[in-house]
Every structure is written in C-alpha cells, then in structure tokens.
C-alpha cells in the first residue's frame, strides 16, 4: 500500500415529501478492509455511519464477507471492495443538503491503521463524490479527516 491510495465516497440523496433516501457508496482499494458495523469480535472497531439532521433514521449496512486470517479459531467478517450504505429518514420537505460522518478503521497488508472519521455531504436530489486522499495512510490525528485531504468533485447538482 502506498500513501496515495484513496478511499472514495459517493453520496446520492433524494427526497419525496418528508422521506429522504441516501445511498452512500464507498470504494475501497484492493487489499483494504474495514470492520463491519457489527464485528464478530468485541475488540474490533465497527464501521459506523451517522447522518445529521434526519428523524427516524434507518441505516442498512453493507453485508460483510467472511475472511479467514488463520487466527486460531477466529473467523472474521470484513467489508471489502465496493460498499453501499442505504439510509432512510425523515426531514422537512425541501431539504437542500444532507451530511454526516463515516467512522471506520482501515486494515491493509499486515496492519490496521488508526480509526478515522470522514465527513461527507451531498445535495438532496444530487450526487457528490469524494476522493479521500491519504485516508488510508497514518495521520497524526486519526479522529478527523481534515479538509485538505478531501478532494470534493460535485458531479451533478
């Protein structure tokens, strides 16, 4: 792995009356995995998607795959490849923007890296794509993906 590998996030949101539906698509580079939302072992750090400003939020997390790392009797389930998080919730009609955070711990090669929290946002009835550069490299402050490392490219509005 090198420090230029990027995790990419694409947010697609739409609203009908007060019902908001968001699909967050996360592309992980090959060889990288995250822990699922409900890890198989208590010492693993779960992936958590949080959405700001919605009521009655329901998050459908991507289904993990089984990964046998040869740890004695422990079989891990992990998130790899392209991940889709589907969120539904309610907000006042005419919501213009939706935002939130994705908290995750990337693991690659022979190590897990410090957990990160990446902020994302998307116009409702639009799409925003982020390429989170250096997200998988160690950073001095693992608790925030700072603005300079986030490259935002609004694809459609």
């Amino acid at each position: 792995m090198n420090s230029h590998q990027a995790l990419t996030i694409r947010a697609d949101a739409e609203q009908s009356a007060d019902l908001v539906r968001l699909t967050l698509t996360v592309d992980l580079p090959p060889g990288v995995h995250l822990e699922p939302h409900q890890p198989t072992e208590p010492y693993l750090i779960p992936t958590v998607l949080e959405v700001d400003g919605l009521r009655d939020v329901k998050v459908d997390y991507p289904t993990p795959t089984v990964k046998d790392l040869g740890w004695q009797d422990i079989t891990l389930t992990v998130l790899e490849g392209t991940l889709q998080f589907v969120v539904t919730g309610r907000a006042h009609a005419g919501l213009e923007c939706i935002s939130g955070t994705l908290h995750y711990q990337p693991c690659v090669g022979g190590a897990c890296l410090p957990p990160r929290t990446t902020r994302w946002q998307s116009p409702v009835s639009g799409t925003t794509a982020y390429s989170v550069l250096h997200a998988l490299a160690a950073q001095p402050n693992p608790d925030s993906a700072s603005e300079p490392e986030r490259r935002s490219a609004r694809e459609t509005a």
């Binding site: 792995m1 420090s3 790392l69 090669g109 022979g110 190590a111 897990c112």
Partner: protein, 167 residues
Amino acid sequence: MPATMEKTYRIGDQVEDFVLPDVDGTPIRFSHLTGPWTLLYFITTWCPYCTAEAPYLESELVAQFADRGLKLVVIDVKEPAAIARTIPERFGWTSPFLIDESGELSERFAPKKEGLAPEVAIINAHLVLDQERVVRFAEYLNMERFDIHATSVAAAIESLTGGGDDE
C-alpha cells in the same frame, strides 16, 4: 506490498536507556524497570490485535516466565495518557506502562514498512531484551499469522531463558 523490514534496533543491538512518563506523568527510567529478561511490547487503544492479545499478555505469557525473571514493559504509542491509561485499567495490568505521546521513542524500534507510519508499524511488536538490554528476539505484527496467545514469542522466550547458551 513488500516491506523492507529494516529497523533501527536489530537483533543484537543494545537498546539505549530512555525515560518516558507513566500514565500519571511520572518520568520513569527504562533501565529501572528491566529484569534478567524483559518483554517490551508496543500498543495503542485502537489496535485490535493488541486488545485481542491483551487479556493473555500479562496473565498468561509473562506469568509463564516470571520465575525466570521476565518483566513486561508496555509502551503506548502516540496517544495522550488520558486515553492510553484505559488499557491497563481495562485489562488489570500491573506491569509498567509508559506513554510515548510523541511517538519518537517508538520510532527507534519500528520496522520500516512502505506506506506505514512508524507508529503503525511498531504496534503489537514484541521485543525480548536480555539483562544488558540487548535485543535477543523481535516479532512484528503480521496480520496473516497473528496469534492472540503470542505462541511464537513464548517459544522464543522459552528458548532464550530455558537453556542458558541456546540462542
């Protein structure tokens, strides 16, 4: 991705004495903590391998060799004491627990792994030092052969401490 694995301290190198604070901020000299044999272990709160191994490290691995003079010294890497201290509290450790908040000390022990910062490359490392603080064994994290009971470390300690000149 291949790793060069070149590191500052190699097998046979003597570790220079150093001073780090404990969880209460009291400066502790490393040489005051070592014994005939010392297991130096690097950890962070966010390291899943470390927290998987932690329940066994002191009570099983170190206890197994206590009568041969094995001491455990743990160094928390690049975290403030307020966060790091949750580890010994959580696992009931009584062994010395030092805080390397800047990560500078730990970097001297870290293997060089391409794309990984030293503070990541060093976590879950086990180094066995003799009474002269010479590195006699070192094992760094490999996710594919991770072992919560650190069996290979135990075997190395057994070999080093069991037969005198059998290293």
